[in-house]
């Protein structure tokens, strides 16, 4: 006798539901809801907007995924992003050289990120404390460099990185996709990535196996800083100015996107694509709420709900 069981449509739907991660379901639900509620949501112009608006957050969430996978956290990335943006504007205003500005921003991000990593690793200090301290340092540096004002003499060229369009697609989207693939390659196709993946279990075993754990560990934070430097170019381009408080607080959005996407502090498992989905979902939610014209207090509460529901869906699935 054949044991062929015909699964009812509801069971089939249930199986499908089980396979799709919570964040993807939330994204789907948000998109459907907003498409119904607002005639403008699905317009090409609006979707392009969401993509472009999400790029900066994506660029700092990708390295944050790696940091969290190593059981760490980077509280300074918002302030570092802000400071690098100010540095870009400062260099542009004083030298009018875009290549130099880009170089200095990347170096600033890289060096400060590496400093984070070095202090954490070589002094064995908790990442939360070190990066919290660095947050204050970067915040002050940004204020001191600008004396509390915007620096606007940045020229026209930098604007292209945020507003430019190539073959009908906005440039930031190319940059975002590029960053995604670079991070993906780093994470899944290099020794560095193997380390990051493995750290969620056993740092001691890796050391014994001869892996240069300290170097890689510092590199995770250095990478985070480098991406902040890169993202700062887009940030300054977006405002055509360097502003000392522009991205303060963005680290929470990044951390939330990473965790909503499925990466876990405790288990150390990470899902890069999940981070991508998390970032897009937040972007879609904010955009949709603006299009519908929801009052600010409700927007604030909705973001909290989104975060909770996405993870609730995941936890329900692991029980059924």
């Amino acid at each position: 006798m054949n044991n062929v069981t015909l699964k009812s449509p509801r069971v089939q739907l249930g199986i499908l539901f089980n396979c799709i991660p919570g964040v993807a379901l939330m994204l789907f639900v948000c998109m459907i809801s907003f498409a119904i509620l607002s005639p403008d949501f699905l317009s090409l112009g609006n979707l392009k907007n969401v993509g472009v608006q999400s790029t900066i957050l994506l660029m700092i969430s990708l390295p944050m995924t790696l940091v969290i996978m190593t059981e760490g956290i980077d509280m300074s990335i918002g302030a570092l992003l802000t400071f690098c943006g100010v540095v870009v504007a400062y260099v542009l205003a004083n030298t009018h050289s875009l290549p130099l500005a880009i170089f200095v921003a990347l170096m600033t991000g890289l060096i400060i990120g590496a400093m984070n990593g070095a202090i954490i690793v070589y002094f064995s200090m908790p990442p939360f404390v070190v990066t919290l301290g660095m947050l204050g340092i970067c915040q002050s540096l940004a204020l001191v460099l600008t004396d509390g004002q915007s620096i606007t003499d940045v020229g026209e060229t930098i604007g292209l990185s945020y507003n430019g369009i190539f073959l009908g697609i906005p440039i930031p989207i190319y940059i975002g996709i590029l960053c995604y693939f670079v991070t993906y390659t780093l994470l899944y196709h290099t020794r560095f990535g193997t380390y990051v993946n493995a750290i969620g279990g056993n740092r001691e075993a890796l050391k014994l196996a001869g892996v240069k754990t300290n170097f890689y560990h510092v590199a995770v934070y250095a990478f985070s800083g480098l991406m902040a430097g890169l993202a700062s170019i887009l940030l300054t381009a977006r405002m055509s100015a360097g502003h000392p408080t522009a991205a303060i607080g963005m680290e929470f959005d990044a951390i939330a996107a990473v965790i909503v996407g499925g990466t876990s502090f405790e288990k150390g498992n990470g899902w890069l694509f999940g981070t991508f989905l998390g970032v897009i979902t937040v972007g879609v939610l904010r955009n949709g709420l603006n299009l519908v014209g929801v009052p600010s207090s409700v927007q604030v509460a909705s973001i909290g709900l989104l975060v909770l529901v996405a993870l609730l869906l995941d936890s329900f699935k692991s029980k059924t």
Binding site: Q139, V298, A301, L308
Partner: protein, 321 residues
């Protein structure tokens, strides 16, 4: 009680406390050296009162962090509980009801957090982060941006009053310190909280009701936030939606500077008090020394890193040499 005394006599514990206090003394010494306005009875009482406000919030969240969790909602909890208590007090004229509302609100929020973490098994970062946004939204909605002012003198006593020349919040801080330390060191519940943080699997295997203990710490964290909100209300004599918003990170920083580990299982309430003292001393010092506003974030950041670093260096030296 004998347990507590023997703990104190335990030299390792004493050494840890000593090194923590050493950092505080270094800061005080430096400030006294730099300005004569610092080392006066009035200023020291001033600093202690400010530190107690921060400590009240931080003491509850210490328990959560001991279980390897985190409670990001404490600031929003303080805001909402304070506003609810204010609304009740002005509408009913009863201080008692206000107290009950504040503590009750804090507790309920703690229950909410606890449920999210234990029953729904959400990571505490996300659960309390989501709760933070929701509380903010709800508070702004029902306060409508308004402020509520003017409370009873008897109520205000807990925040602005003096007893034998010493500000009341300092007494409250001492009570919390004693109760908190007794709880963590001297009760089974406390020991179990440490066990859950250090190794939840082993704890469960040895019979610790992990979920119940987790629930307990979130409720306690919420309750202390509720209590803190009442003291803030009494101190400020007004309630508005965003009280407490700016206090979350400093409270968590105070816990971490005090030596509690985010990975759980290590830390003390007294350590949190030290952390609160350090942060308050820094602000006090910056105001007295008239340090330019632009540099204040950097000074705070550097001191945070240095105090944890110094503490670690001292402890390592003492255990090896």
């Amino acid at each position: 009680m004998t347990n507590l005394l023997s703990e104190i006599k335990d030299s390792a514990q004493l050494k840890n406390l000593f090194f923590r206090l050493l950092v505080v003394f270094i800061i005080c010494f430096t400030l006294s050296f730099l300005t004569e306005a610092f080392f006066t009875v009035n200023n020291l009482l001033n600093v202690l009162r400010q530190a107690s406000l921060l400590f009240l919030m931080a003491s509850g969240v210490t328990l959560v962090i001991l279980t390897a969790g985190i409670d990001l909602s404490i600031g929003a909890n303080v805001g909402m509980s304070a506003c609810l208590a204010a609304v009740v007090m002005t509408n009913t004229g009863s201080t008692l009801l206000g107290f009950l509302t504040g503590i009750g609100s804090g507790m309920l929020i703690g229950v909410g957090n606890g449920l999210l973490v234990t029953t729904l098994r959400l990571p505490s970062f996300i659960a309390t982060y989501g709760m933070l946004w929701i509380l903010h939204g709800v508070t702004y909605y029902f306060m409508g941006g308004a402020t509520i002012n003017g409370f009873d003198k008897s109520f205000r006593f807990i925040g602005s009053g003096y007893l034998y020349g010493v500000p009341v919040p300092i007494y409250i801080m001492l009570i919390f310190l004693v109760v908190g330390t007794l709880f963590t060191k001297d009760t089974v519940y406390g020991q179990q909280v440490y066990a859950v943080g250090a190794n939840p699997v082993a704890a469960r295997l040895s019979g610790v009701p992990v979920n119940r203990r987790l629930m307990l710490v979130y409720i306690l964290s919420g309750m202390t936030a509720g209590l803190a909100s009442l003291v803030y209300l009494a101190r400020l004599n007004s309630a508005e939606g965003d009280i407490g918003e700016a206090l979350t990170l400093p409270a968590i920083a105070a816990v971490l500077i005090g030596g509690t580990s985010l990975f759980g299982g290590i830390g003390t309430i007294f350590g949190t008090l030290i952390g609160a003292l350090i942060l308050t001393l820094v602000l006090n010092g910056m105001n007295i020394l008239s340090i330019d506003g632009n540099w204040q974030a950097l000074v705070t950041g550097v001191i945070i890193i240095l105090s944890v670093l110094l503490d670690l260096v001292f402890r390592r030296k003492s255990s090896t040499g």
